[in-house]
């Protein structure tokens, strides 16, 4: 899969951009604050409809303008034209010039995995970050998962609202408990199937990056073991006091163990960086396995933060992506520019919201 064309209008610092990209390894060079990461952000947005920097729509509009537009041509088994327009008054998402009615019909048109500084939160952050990591993978590979997840979250919100009503209506609580259980069980089951498939990929990525040959284990820790309904029953008294749903897959954890010990507390800064990178590599490998084609890899200046040996560990993944006629976009500055990737690079210079091909 690759991105053949990208058009931006009033997106971040780009007033207007029209660029064509071949499959292969693209390096976006430029000084800081020229718009390198903004390009990756636009590609990621076209793939997931979210900013990997957690930015809302307003922040993505070029200063003083009404709305932004992203046009993308995704070439996979078929060629699809993506159009995204966002302004305060209007949001428009089109696929081949037709309005998209259901998100599930759209997601998967363009698949991308981003490597960025925020990845460190996968190791350091709260369980919510790791749940999102599992959910994103499942939503992209398992039909129906996203629908169950949205339904489950709606059931949790509704049930919490019931628990906050005074006096507590038991029958009403039961009605929403039924829905919570119905949507929650397939989510737990899907995560339970995912983690054993993901764990060996993360372990082998970790081994290839870290010279020390450390072992990384992923362990899915569903907050509920056994029947969800029985667990909810058991928490009834506490729920009544706390007035919120206290058990369920919205509180699950994906535990990371380095050499058998919890990584969040025992790993060094360098090891945490290794683990975060290994998780992202596992994500890319898993998506490749599930769809038969590699996702587009977006690498935001992480090479600069990695030492020589960790960079070397990442290279095979990047080369494989390229080999399978995939695509890699990597930002770097003149200083962090990875010289070991000398061959067959497509170089671009980014300066003040403009993109210029650099002859090899």
């Amino acid at each position: 899969m690759h991105l053949a064309r990208l058009r931006l209008r009033d997106f971040r610092n780009y007033a207007r951009l029209d660029a064509e990209f071949a499959p292969g390894f693209h390096v976006l060079l430029g000084r800081n604050a020229q718009g390198k990461t903004n390009l990756l952000e636009a590609i990621y947005l076209a793939a997931t409809l979210r900013s990997f920097r957690g930015a809302g729509g307003h922040q993505l509009i070029r200063h003083g303008q009404q709305g932004y537009f992203i046009g993308a041509r995704a070439v996979g088994q078929a060629t699809r034209e993506i159009g995204i327009y966002w302004s305060a008054a209007e949001r428009r998402l089109t696929l081949d010039r037709q309005k998209v009615r259901r998100l599930a019909d759209y997601l998967g048109t363009l698949r991308a995995v981003v490597f960025c500084a925020e990845d460190l939160q996968l190791v350091k952050g709260t369980a919510r970050v790791r749940r999102r990591f599992m959910d994103l993978l499942l939503a992209q590979t398992q039909p129906g998962y996203l629908a169950w997840l949205l339904r489950y979250l709606q059931a949790v919100r509704s049930r919490n609202a019931v628990l906050k009503r005074m006096p507590l209506d038991e029958a009403l609580l039961e009605g929403f408990t039924d829905e919570l259980v119905r949507a929650g069980e397939p989510i737990i089951a899907a995560r339970q199937r995912l983690v054993p498939q993901l764990a060996p990929l993360a372990q082998s990525a970790c081994q290839s990056i870290s010279s020390a040959g450390e072992t990384l284990e992923l362990s899915y820790q569903p907050q509920v073991r056994g029947e969800l309904r029985a667990a909810l029953e058991a928490q009834r008294a506490r729920e009544r006091v706390r007035r919120a749903t206290l058990v369920g897959p919205h509180l699950d954890e994906l535990m990371l163990l380095l050499q058998g010990r919890p990584a969040a507390t025992f790993a060094s800064e360098g090891q945490k960086r290794t683990l975060a990178l290994a998780l992202k590599m596992a994500q890319a490998e898993f998506l490749t396995g599930a769809h038969g084609v590699p996702p587009i890899l977006l690498i935001d200046d992480v090479m600069g933060e990695l030492d020589q040996s960790r960079r070397a560990g990442l290279l095979p993944l990047l080369e494989r992506a390229q080999h399978a006629r995939g695509q890699v976009f990597m930002t770097c500055t003149e200083e962090s520019w990875p010289r070991e990737l000398g061959r067959a690079l497509l170089r671009w210079e980014v300066a003040e919201g403009a993109l210029k091909a650099v002859p090899a």
Partner: protein, 203 residues
């Protein structure tokens, strides 16, 4: 008055129209401008229609559907089956099911569905009225025809529990594939429901 603002009565009309469901400020303004430039007799007759409709239409005291007479024609019809009650969310749903012409029992409009996040609880729905009708004796089956989202489904679970002691059958309408269409148009949840709710066929 500046050149850019509309005369005050037009502004007030636009504001009143803008409170109607489905009308944004721009459409409300366009309608208001259209009305003040229309033939006066047409506008007068529109106003009369609004008043007439509002004055003569009321919810049916039995089923809650919209009617001119009490009880409504469907509740008064002696030819309909008193042993079946079909429970729907809105008066419009009554028309939809009635139009399909396949249901010959009575109706009951809830006036919404349980929605704790928007503050709609059991006391806001016509549930006591439903229980009263069920306790009346003739009813043998209550058919729930509600939406299939979280709130609609939770309302069904709730009703099933609440009516459980009444010694009647509580069922809900099947959900699955739209008639006459292929599997390719169904989303995953719909297919899951369709498989769950499969039926044996005789060969």
């Amino acid at each position: 008055m500046g050149m850019t603002s509309l005369p005050e009565p037009v502004e007030r009309l636009a504001a009143a129209l803008g409170r109607l469901p489905g009308l944004g400020p721009r459409s409300a303004e366009r309608l208001a401008l259209h009305l003040v430039q229309s033939d006066a007799s047409q506008v007068r007759s529109l106003a009369q229609c609004l008043l007439d409709a509002r004055d003569t239409i009321a919810p049916c005291s039995v089923c809650g559907a919209l009617t001119q007479s009490q009880p409504c024609a469907l509740c008064a019809d002696p030819g309909r089956d008193d042993t079946l009650i079909c429970v729907v969310e809105s008066a419009l749903d009554v028309l939809r099911i009635h139009k399909a012409g396949v249901f010959h029992g009575r109706f009951h409009v809830l006036g919404g569905r349980l929605s704790p996040v928007s503050g709609v609880g059991p006391e806001d729905l016509r549930l006591d009225e439903l229980e009263g009708r069920v306790r009346g004796g003739a009813v043998r089956e209550v058919i729930l025809a509600l939406a299939t989202d979280v709130e609609g489904d939770a309302t069904c679970h709730y009703l099933a529990r609440r009516l459980a002691g009444a010694g009647i059958k509580v069922s809900r309408i099947a959900h699955g594939l739209p008639a006459g269409s292929g599997l390719e148009f169904a989303d995953e949840l719909t297919l899951a429901h369709a498989i769950e709710g499969r039926r044996e066929i005789c060969g």
